[in-house]
Symmetry: none
Subunit: 218 residues, 2 copies
């Protein structure tokens, strides 16, 4: 199946947003795509009709398995072309995004698989993001436990492994959520508790048993 560039951009944007937040909202997507909420609603209906999206009105939405599959192929193309532009055409990593935004819509799968081979099957794009393989498999991002990161290093919360009510309640109270950026300021040897700092907030303390369930990317 071939989809328009516009549809592909929607699918990719939803893919990225749901990576972070699970379910996506109309306003968030409109903001991501620099368009109007009304336009987003229009497109959501079309994507649902094509079974690329799970969507009930007013309830938020996320990609179907098929939608995710399409999105991953676009992510693959985007990142391989970025790699090509930096590695072979010597562009700076900050220049390549807009060009890749166009190149990702070139349809031939054979072309992109040959390009992958030509580039030596790179694992990551110039921004460090992992490149899905030909079948669409995406290597998991490197999630590290809060216990294992160095002091005074900015980290972003990416995953919570214990998702019990009690854990989430505690994290909510401490203002820790997926996407929160923080640094570990101190580790106390007595009980392995940690003192954390979130920008513009006062320091907070969490126990070892909490910290070992909070994963971050550095």
């Amino acid at each position: 199946m071939k989809y328009s560039s516009s549809k592909e951009n929607y699918l990719k944007a939803i893919f990225h947003l749901q990576e972070e937040d699970g379910v996506v909202t109309t306003n968030a997507l409109a903001n991501e795509l620099q368009t109007r909420p009304a336009s987003v609603t229009d497109m959501l209906k079309k994507l649902k009709t094509q079974k690329l999206l799970l969507y009930e009105k007013y309830q938020g939405f996320k990609l179907s398995n098929e939608g995710k599959k399409v999105a991953l192929q676009i992510v693959r193309k985007h990142r391989l072309w970025e790699f090509f532009l930096v590695e072979k055409l010597h562009f700076g990593w900050e220049e390549v995004h807009d060009m890749a935004e166009e190149l990702e819509h070139i349809s031939s799968k054979k072309l992109i698989d040959r390009l992958d081979e030509f580039l030596g099957f790179p694992k990551n794009d110039p921004h460090g993001d992992p490149i899905p393989d030909s079948s669409g498999k995406l290597a998991m991002k490197q999630h590290i436990s809060l216990l294992d990161i160095p002091l005074n290093t900015l980290a972003e919360v990416s995953n919570i492994s214990d998702q019990s009510i009690e854990m989430l309640e505690l994290l909510k109270h401490k203002s820790i959520a997926i996407g929160t950026k923080l640094e570990v300021k101190r580790k106390f040897a007595f009980d392995n508790s940690l003192e954390l700092k979130i920008k513009n907030q006062s320091a907070i303390t969490i126990s070892e048993s909490v910290a070992k369930n909070v994963f971050v990317i550095i």
Copy 2:
């Protein structure tokens, strides 16, 4: 100025048709683009409004200087991408046209100039057609049809004027490609077919209609 893929396809097709016939007709263009004459007329009006086309209704039309400039940049992109696909990604010369048809609409001029450099500033695409330089200048070609060369004279294939899949497939089977060196050994008056000899290969026969589309330099 940026133009839609559709407009760019029209400009390029008009460019190619007027190379051959000077002035272009509605039906010829509709045929070239596999669309309807009414659709062509619609687009002609838009191209005229944008001063890309010289057009008076019922009188035929041709590109303005600005239109020619745009068309040459698309031809440049098309041929450079074809060269890339054959030379770097090892596609056959008969496979690359459709991919180049998409790639030629990637807009960045900087990208295409870097690609040109990466490829070593090639003079001709895989089908022997000349590649316009960065400023849009196109080298003229001085090719002679196989029909018109003397017997037993070494000639090098430089261009194929009919680039249909069917023609390229036939030539591939006969081991004839751009750069192939051959001699015409016999001409048969009955059907104007030719017997050719490529060094180290047994003699091959081609029809008049094939021969008239194969151009060589002596």
